[in-house]
């Protein structure tokens, strides 16, 4: 056996030895490939899901996509469409954002800028964290009891307004949590500089802090939107129509206070019907909602990466 003397030789032999042993590290290799397998399973599943839905819904997607997207629900499987669901989902999303974003962002501003760690602020924080974990269907109960029944004079009962208010309550914690993180990331120097030139607290917040955190807040808002677009359970309790509905000759504004449905609720309805044709409709509608939700989410991720600030 050769005797190694110089540091260079020692380093070379050690490196070679390590390399040899790394090759023999069976446990390590098995572990690593198991992990890669788990990660692949978790992520490749998204592709499988899309593929299955496209294949199952192909008869609708290839044959009558235009008709499918522009017509309302019909009792006959080869004549039905998702137009009313798309319209309902858009209207609900609009109501949801109009309510949840101002309240959520304002709550976050209070927590980060105004509270100073008061007891009330801690209560709000704990409360928001717990609200984030409440199952969506429980928000449906809130919607049914409060927005549909108690506030019937305002919402007109089972309407887009009641559904939107319900989903607004549901996504409110998401908006608050992401906005709090956005505002906390704004560096203290920005605030101090503004105070230093004599700005009031309101001016510091409205002219410096919120604009600086706006892109992250926007990302959170878009994620909340995606969540609201995909949710069906609370809307079922609030009374989204699962069958045929007619808007009559109501104009766009009047449909806010009439019977409504939403895209995920329609998918649920399609999935409940027996037979191949309804299954194809369910799959085709799933492709539609997947494309919409993945696009909205992809947009949020893009926004985050595009405007990610290094202070």
């Amino acid at each position: 056996m050769a005797v190694v003397t110089t540091p260079g030789q020692v380093a070379r032999t050690t490196a070679a030895d390590l390399e040899k042993r790394a090759g023999a590290d069976v446990a390590g290799a098995v572990f690593k490939w198991t992990l890669i397998g788990a990660t692949t399973f978790a992520t490749a599943f998204l592709g499988v899901l899309l593929l299955v839905m496209v294949v199952d819904g192909w008869s609708v997607l290839s044959g009558s996509l235009g008709h499918f997207l522009t017509h309302g629900f019909s009792q006959s499987a080869d004549n039905t469409g998702v137009w009313q669901g798309i319209l309902g989902s858009l209207q609900i999303a609009l109501v949801t954002l109009v309510l949840a974003v101002p309240i959520g962002v304002a709550t976050a501003i209070y927590l980060v800028e105004y509270s100073g760690g008061s007891r009330f602020a801690r209560l709000v924080e704990l409360n928001v964290r717990n609200l984030a974990g409440v199952p969506s269907i429980v928000y449906g109960l809130l919607g049914l009891a409060v927005f549909v029944q108690t506030l019937e004079n305002f919402t007109q009962g089972r309407t887009v307004v009641a559904g939107g208010m319900t989903l607004a309550a549901m996504v409110l914690p998401i908006v608050v949590i992401t906005s709090v993180e956005a505002l906390k990331a704004v560096p203290q120097e920005l605030r101090e500089a503004a105070y230093g030139v004599g700005a009031t607290k309101w001016e510091v917040v409205s002219k410096q802090v919120v604009p600086a955190g706006a892109s992250t807040i926007l990302t959170g808002t878009v994620l909340a939107l995606a969540r609201a677009l995909g949710e069906a359970a609370p809307l079922i309790l609030v009374g989204a129509a699962t069958g045929f509905i007619s808007f009559g000759d109501a104009n766009w504004l009047e449909t806010f206070t009439g019977p409504f449905t939403a895209l995920p609720v329609l998918i649920f309805n399609f999935a409940r019907q027996p037979g191949e044709e309804w299954a194809a409709n369910a799959a085709a509608a799933s492709v539609v909602i997947l494309v919409v939700v993945l696009m909205v989410n992809g947009f949020a991720i893009y926004l985050r990466n595009r405007f990610e600030k290094k202070w």
Binding site: F31, A42, A106, E113, Y114, A233
Partner: protein
Amino acid sequence: MTTTLSIDELQTARGRRARASAARWVFLSAAAVTVLVSLLIIWTIASEAWSFASEVARDQLFAIGWYPRRGLFDLSTLLVNSAQISAVAMIVAIPSGLGAAIYLAEYAQPRVRRVMKPTLELLASVPSVVLGVFAISFITPSLLSNFFDDINFFNKLAAGIAVGLLVIPLIASISEDALRAVPNSLREASSGLGARKVTTTIRVVLPAALSGLMAAAIVGFSRAIGETMVVTIASGGGDTSLFNTSLFESGGTITSAMASLGLGTDQVAGNDLAFQSLYFLGALLFLITLGLNLIGNAIVNRLREKY
């Protein structure tokens, strides 16, 4: 010459002051709205659930199954089904979610991470109705029926697998945070003693992150119990279910029973016992998930203080 400044001159303009204090009240009341939402949830659920609990006869809660329109409210049927489906979901989600988290936190090159993380986030956004459709159009007919001959078209196993797929991103994301919270000095010390990467990961990093990983499992379980649409589509389609413990049979859970009752609210509205059972189930679900989330949050907070 001396000038005397009065307090009024030193103060800022009245309008600016008024705006600043008005803004404070606006933000404060927004924060109060979030508390109001919680109070409304608790108040509505509690009052209706209480009237159900006080009106229902004891033997109605122990019956052959869940038949709300016939006055049979066997809670054990729903609880057992919820537990079974959530357990299957955990068996699917924990190995995969944890494996993905370990890979992303310990092994993956930054380049791989930049692609994988957003993909997992996209997966988290798949609507649950779509997974329900996936369960009855793929998991049961194309996978499970090859292995099990006597499996029902609607069954708890497929529902559990689909719920598991839904929970993977959540578990992966919380677990990865827990693993990243483990200080690098621990890894370096272990490597310095000559431990291989796999030894460092399994013997040092995982034990150090254990409480956070448990929190991930608890929060994931809570999410699985609260999942509604997958179960309603794939297992608990009808509004009734007979007590059974077979994974190959259909069965309604707390959540799917609520959805089914909700579908019929037009018929059962009024002071009917079936209608109130909807709120009773909601109260039950609320308490279970709240308890699980409080435990999970407490663990995560303790972890945050430790490092």
